[in-house]
């Protein structure tokens, strides 16, 4: 699938087709995760009819992958109506949830809809550590039960493990737990600032030693070793786009505000007021699309530019869209160190 998907993404970017769109249906949540990037949990979101109208526009615009998230999406009483509408429009739907509200009936209803995948956040293999992060007592047990129910119902589940100072050492055990449950697994080693720019939560993120340990895990080091071949800066890096944000993907908040990405708080218009196409073609979106690596003056000459996963959103939240993202500078340095060690072992 990789090659076809790559070609599809490239074609979508070239034709300005929003192949992947994340729609947050609500910012309300039953958990209060310590690292949450949402500025508030009051946003109830659009009406069922508004969301249905948006889905029609997305289908007509060429969107194939629809990510429905929150907040906790299962707090929407009309979630299944929206999912049925989405599937009748033939989207490949990914549902992001903490899983705590997925009982047997919900699991069976989700299975009947034919989703591409359900992503469930799991912070630890230890209930007390997970619950201290989610600040929802009993949430670990309920999330794990949901994973079992969903997989038993025939739905593919991916465990998403955000790593912070307090759970950094649990990654391998969470992966083993995911394996034992029949779920796939991914980590997110970056705690991002809140969308309103408040960076206080980033203090919860991994320190450099922990990041290096996490990225040195053989499971991840295998993936990182593919970077060995591109560690030298290619001559044409300057002309490359920054990331997929705005090129073939975007994010829509519960209130309908479009951003190039969930981590790039640059408002591009409101889809419920002006329509999806207007926001998708907005000046702000075109500005993001026009940016190239060569425009990043702070990064010029950096030997790590080829392996850096610099996030323009994090840079913007640090004050300059075209400036440095300190978090990504640190990550690139650590990745380079890990890659170097992997190379030495291979030699």
């Amino acid at each position: 699938m990789g090659q076809i998907l790559d070609e599809l993404c490239a074609k979508a970017a070239g034709r300005r087709v929003p192949l992947t769109v994340q729609v947050d249906l609500t910012w309300r949540c039953n958990a209060q995760c310590v690292h949450c990037y949402l500025p508030d949990h009051a946003a109830e979101g659009a009406t069922t009819e508004q969301v249905a109208g948006l889905l029609e526009q997305l289908a007509a615009s060429g969107t194939l992958f629809l990510v429905l998230s929150g907040g906790e999406v299962l707090l929407r009483p009309d979630l299944f109506d929206i999912l049925e509408r989405a599937r009748s429009l033939s989207f490949a739907v990914v549902l992001k949830t903490n899983g705590t509200l997925i009982d047997q009936q919900a699991a069976e209803r989700l299975a009947a809809l034919g989703l591409l995948r359900v992503d469930i956040s799991l912070y630890s293999h230890r209930g007390e550590v997970h619950d201290a992060i989610s600040r929802l007592p009993g949430s670990w047990r309920r999330s794990v039960e949901a994973i079992r129910r969903l997989i038993s119902a025939g739905i593919r589940v991916r465990v998403v493990n955000v790593l912070m100072k307090t759970n950094a050492g649990d990654a391998a055990a969470v992966r083993e737990l995911a394996d034992s449950l029949g779920a796939s697994y991914t980590i997110d080693p970056t705690v991002t600032p809140r969308l309103d720019g408040d960076g206080a939560v980033t203090r919860l993120g991994l320190d450099p030693d922990q990041l290096e340990t996490a990225l040195s895990d053989p499971f991840l080091a295998g993936a990182l070793s593919t970077l060995c071949e591109i560690q030298d800066v290619p001559a044409n890096t300057a002309n490359e786009q920054l990331c997929s944000a705005g090129h073939f993907s975007c994010y829509v908040s519960p209130a309908g505000d479009m951003f190039p990405c969930v981590q790039l708080p640059l408002p591009c218009g409101n889809v419920y007021e002006g329509g999806f196409g207007r926001a998708w073609r907005s000046q702000q979106m075109e500005m993001i699309r026009s940016m190239r690596v060569g425009d990043l003056k702070d990064c010029g000459g950096c030997p790590l530019v080829a392996i850096c996963t610099r996030c323009p959103g994090l840079a913007l939240m640090e004050g300059n869209l075209a400036g440095k993202s300190t978090l990504d500078c640190l990550k690139a340095t650590v990745v380079a160190s890990v890659v170097s060690r992997v190379r030495q072992r291979a030699d």
Partner: protein, 109 residues
């Protein structure tokens, strides 16, 4: 190949853009890109036409040699049926049933 009724599976996601139809088999994440003829076969596979009828329609609609069109269309239906993307049945779909994948995308520009 069976000349049974051909129907789009409901276990897929599908979208048209740039003159192609993109199909994803959700259980496996397998992706298929269909050209104009493939997309037309996909569109016709509503469960109320047999493979023979679809092949005939393709021969009528596209300016290709009949033998080639027949062979390619049958191969195509058989291949997608093997992947569970198209379903073959001895009986037609009930009137009023609406398989997935009816929505064609357009360029948003």
């Amino acid at each position: 190949m069976s000349s049974g009724y051909v129907r789009r599976s409901s276990e897929v996601a599908a979208r048209a853009f740039d003159g192609q139809m993109v199909i994803m088999q959700l259980a496996t994440s397998a992706l298929f890109t269909l050209n104009q003829v493939g997309a037309r076969i996909w569109e016709l596979a509503d469960g109320r036409m047999t493979a023979d009828q679809i092949v005939q329609r393709i021969c009528q609609e596209f300016e290709v040699e009949k033998a080639v069109a027949e062979r390619d269309a049958r191969d195509f239906i058989e291949r997608l049926a093997k992947h569970g993307v198209l379903l073959l049945s001895d009986t037609p779909a009930q009137a009023g049933s609406r398989p997935l994948g009816d929505v064609n995308g357009t360029d948003p520009r």
